[in-house]
């Protein structure tokens, strides 16, 4: 009888935890190579300026300093970092050089690299580099980027890079004939992923073998290997990027940053291993920022509350350069504004503006967090104007099961067509309302209890995932019967090893304990795309299914040789093969490891979706908000490990609350980043948001992959900003408080309440 594993769907305790809990994880700062030098990077302290000179002579005299690399050491042309996603030719003028190329455009831009015997000496040497910069006016806002004569890129002549246009139907006609329209302006602040482990690299050049090895890769190792090899003039096969344990990603880690080139290049230049680990202040001014969107948006409805059309213009402040995935957020703001609702007419634009701030990129739920804030606010405003219950208004306009697959707006200039794949949006919405007990709780709307005004809100969201193009899996059945899984999917700390072992165990019917998952070394499989866009489980997991079928064929072929029978006459029964009453164990079945490789290709997105509801209380005297209850209900198609999924859902919501209330990267008018430490970049702590609940469902399996899974993990965060703003508006409705800007800091809420109270008296 066949052994049927059912690890999928079980809350299996994670294999990773056995090392993490005992301090045995190996993160990049734990990697050391014999004879390594330490790199420290001289960064611009000026937001905008022309470099007149960089004098390293005093620094070079400091004992222990081995080299100071400046632009000239990189040859005539300083390498520029290409775009990984939406690589449009018209964006090439905005690509970042790995070292400032005559001009600095943000505080933190790399200018030189010091290599020394200890990190302390390298840091001391920074003070001895004499830098002369002619300061230029800094551009730090949308108004300045549009109106100031100063530009970041003189050849381009404008600070506007490109404009994304999302379109569907005929929005102008719909607006012309609509019963109701409303236009509002919104702002979402600049904040960032801020994972806990700082970035770092250890690079080693083996001159004899002509081979470069780099530890510290994350997320997109194969892509980064190609970029690095090209920039260094090496064959791709001469470069190996190795992913060790990774302390969180959330969209921003693992993109190709200047340091991804500088540290390996320094190792090659010096002929010795080089190690670099950033500090937190350095992280804040160098790793990708995110959000930072302003938007004028207009909504049209019929008088009976049918959504008709959206149109408007958004401006994305992308900072000084367009980085590898910097278009994703701005594009998504245009394309995904409609969310899980039926809008037949859309005309939305997002213009990407360069400013003298740190370049931006993706952060969990890119563009979706922003659009949900804008859209869900507009829905509550429309509901109030039309005197339609806000719950009922949402119900009326959610995409129905029968409408699937439902196309989202088309987009130019880089076609990223997608459609909502499947889902019962109404069922999830209704379940959320029921589990939250909206009917009872909504009686508290606007009520003052013990000095706090109570407010509620609900919002729905879609979570895109798993955009292809492919993923590889290689399975090796070792001679002793153990199975090793090699993957192109990467781990950023989400539990990949456990989840992939669960999928493998079910697909091969081998015991979970016999399976080892290896990921993230560019030598392990031919190609990989890694971990972004909630794709690891969907893409890597599906590749495992394909490979498992091939492995069974190999096992049958090996067994047929041993049994002396036809391949088709062999049956596999867990760890045994059988034929005609005889059995053999897999261990020792073959003299060589049985090895198979498979690639899963996919062009279609998965769209997980859900509804969240919140009950809050606002102290009008301080502007402080207590989250009394927060519930998220999400359908992800199929659940591999409910424990890891639930963990990501809760963690994601709390990140969303951080973005809604606390986190803000603040610049002054000179382009200086004022938030340089965790003392002023506030993140949620254990005290802030204790009452978070999450329900995850398997209602509608995804039709686009053999596992039926949808990418999940970002969803929790997506609607949080909108829901918090609507809940505050509900709580302070007697003062007509209408938040149009994030973060909802105590000072901002207090000021809105004050302004409302003054107007109420007047």
């Amino acid at each position: 009888m066949s052994v049927r594993n059912s690890y999928i769907g079980q809350p299996i305790e994670r294999t990773e935890d056995l090392r993490f809990l005992r301090g045995r994880g190996i993160y990049v700062a734990d990697v050391n190579r014999p004879g390594q030098l330490y790199a420290v990077i001289l960064r611009s302290s000026v937001a905008h300026g022309n470099i007149r000179s960089v004098d390293i002579s005093r620094a070079m005299q400091l004992p222990g300093v081995r080299h100071v690399l400046v632009g000239a050491d990189l040859g005539n042309a300083v390498p520029r970092i290409p775009l990984r996603l939406q690589p449009l030719p018209q964006l090439e003028p905005f690509h970042q050089p790995v070292l400032a190329d005559g001009k600095v455009r943000y505080v933190g831009e790399p200018i030189a690299v010091v290599l020394a015997d200890t990190p302390g000496i390298a840091e001391d040497a920074l003070d001895l580099i004499d830098l002369d910069i002619e300061t230029l006016p800094a551009i730090t806002s949308r108004e300045q980027a549009e109106a100031m004569p100063a530009v970041l890129f003189e050849d381009h002549g404008s600070n506007a890079a490109i404009t994304w246009k999302a379109f569907k139907g005929d929005a102008d006609a719909a607006f012309a004939s609509a019963d109701y329209t409303r236009r509002e302006t919104f702002k979402i602040q600049r904040h960032a992923a801020m994972f806990m482990e700082p970035r770092g690299f250890v690079a080693e050049w083996n001159a004899d073998a002509g081979k470069l090895t780099v530890w510290g890769a994350a997320k997109t190792a194969w892509y980064n290997r190609r970029v690095l090899a090209t920039a260094l003039g090496l064959d791709v096969d001469a470069v190996d990027l190795i992913e060790v344990d990774v302390g969180g990603g959330f969209g921003s880690r693992g993109e190709f940053y200047p340091e991804d080139y500088l540290i390996p290049a320094a190792a090659k230049f010096a002929g010795r291993p080089v190690k670099w680990t950033e500090d937190r202040r350095e992280h804040m001014m160098t790793a990708n920022h995110a959000r930072d969107i302003e938007c004028d948006v207009e909504i049209a409805l019929s008088k009976d509350g049918r959504f008709l059309a959206l149109r408007g213009q958004a401006w994305a402040d992308i900072g000084a350069y367009i980085r590898t995935n910097g278009s994703v957020g701005p594009r998504n703001v245009a394309q995904y504004m409609s969310g899980p609702y039926t809008f037949e007419h859309i005309d939305l634009k997002t213009t990407m503006l360069t400013t003298n701030k740190t370049p931006s990129g993706t952060y969990r739920g890119p563009g979706r967090y922003e659009t949900d804030f804008i859209r869900e606010r507009m829905i509550d405003l429309a509901a109030k104007d039309l005197r339609i219950d806000r719950v009922e208004l949402r119900r009326r306009n959610l995409v129905a099961d029968a409408q699937m697959p439902y196309p989202l707006a088309s987009i130019t200039p880089y076609d990223s067509s997608t459609e909502l794949d499947s889902g019962d949006y109404h069922a999830v919405f209704d379940l959320c309302m029921k589990e939250f007990d909206w009917a009872e709780k909504s009686k508290l709307s606007g009520r003052l209890i013990d000095g706090y005004y109570h407010g509620l809100a609900v919002g729905s969201f879609i979570e895109g995932g798993a955009a292809g193009p492919s993923e590889d899996a290689r399975l090796v059945l070792e001679i002793d019967g153990a199975l090793t899984v090699y993957l192109g999917s990467s781990s950023v700390g989400q539990g990949l090893e456990t989840i992939m072992a669960q999928i493998t165990a079910d697909a091969t019917e081998l015991p979970f304990e016999k399976i080892t998952v290896r990921h993230g070394s560019t030598s392990d499989v031919k190609n990989g795309y890694g971990a972004y866009h909630s794709r690891s489980t969907v893409m890597g997991g599906s590749a495992i299914l394909l490979a498992a079928e091939k492995l069974k064929d190999s096992v049958r072929a090996a067994a047929a040789l041993r049994f002396g029978c036809a391949v088709g006459d062999v049956t596999i029964d867990g760890e045994q093969v059988a034929h005609g009453g005889k059995t053999l164990p897999l261990a020792g079945l073959s003299d060589i490891p049985l090895e198979v490789e498979a690639t899963f290709f996919n062009k279609k997105y998965t769209w997980a979706y859900g509804t969240q509801a919140a009950h809050i209380a606002v102290d009008p005297g301080t502007g402080h908000v207590k989250v009394i209850d927060y519930l998220s209900v999400e359908d992800v198609g199929r659940i591999i490990n409910p424990s890891t999924l639930h963990g990501q859902a809760i963690g994601s919501i709390v990140q969303g609350l951080g973005g809604a209330f606390l986190e803000h990267l603040v610049y002054d008018e000179n382009g200086q980043l004022l938030t340089g430490s965790f003392a002023d970049y506030l993140m949620p702590t254990a005290l802030d948001f204790p009452n978070i609940r999450s329900i995850t469902l398997e209602l509608k399996p995804c039709p686009n992959n053999p596992l039926g899974v949808k990418g999940a993990g970002e969803g929790g965060l997506i609607p949080v900003g909108g829901i918090m703003a609507n809940a505050i508006a509900d709580a302070l409705s007697h003062l007509n408080v209408q938040p149009m800007e994030l973060p909802l800091s105590p000072a901002r809420i207090w000021q809105m309440a004050e302004d409302g109270a003054i107007q109420a008296v007047a």
Binding site: M196, G248, V654, P684, T685, A686
Partner: protein
């Protein structure tokens, strides 16, 4: 400067610069890489170790200050098997990327050793000194609450 202290039960000696932090000394000189550096300005708590039984930020303490002290890192809290607190973290899925985890384990261990009856509010208050970006803290609090019984038994024995 030459210093000597007790690390996870064994006496160790090493040479450090006056400016070397305890965290760097533990990691670079003594190979205890379970002590993590997330911010190096005392806010994130990932580098928390026990010094004479107290939870201390190893990034804010100089190595020379530890001379003669008893220092315990996350590596010293268990041997081959997970400790009850570590097992509780695993059971409740109280970690994802695992980077902040050693700091939470050492902080919670210090708290529960002194106060095995700490209630949820007290646990949240103490752990609010450590940042976690992955979990949203809910499962961490559950794990620490669940581990209290083992510490209560230990305290009774003592």
């Amino acid at each position: 400067m030459q210093i000597e202290f007790e690390l996870n039960g064994a006496t160790v000696g090493t040479s450090v610069e006056a400016r070397t932090s305890l965290a760097d000394c533990l990691r670079d000189n003594l190979g205890k890489t379970g002590t993590h550096l997330g911010c190096e300005h005392g806010v994130c708590g990932a580098c928390t170790v026990l010094v004479n039984g107290e939870a201390v930020r190893a990034c804010l303490m100089l190595a020379v200050q530890a001379n003669g002290d008893k220092v315990v890192t996350v590596e010293g809290l268990s041997s081959d098997n997970l400790s009850p607190l570590q097992a509780s973290f695993r059971k409740h899925h109280a970690l994802q990327c695992g980077f902040c985890t050693p700091g939470f384990i050492t902080t919670a261990h210090a708290l529960l050793t002194a106060e095995p009856d700490a209630d949820e509010e007290r646990i949240r208050d103490v752990l609010s000194g450590n940042l976690c970006r992955c979990t949203g803290y809910v499962p961490i609090i559950e794990a620490v609450l669940d581990a209290r019984k083992f510490y209560a038994v230990q305290k009774e024995k003592a």
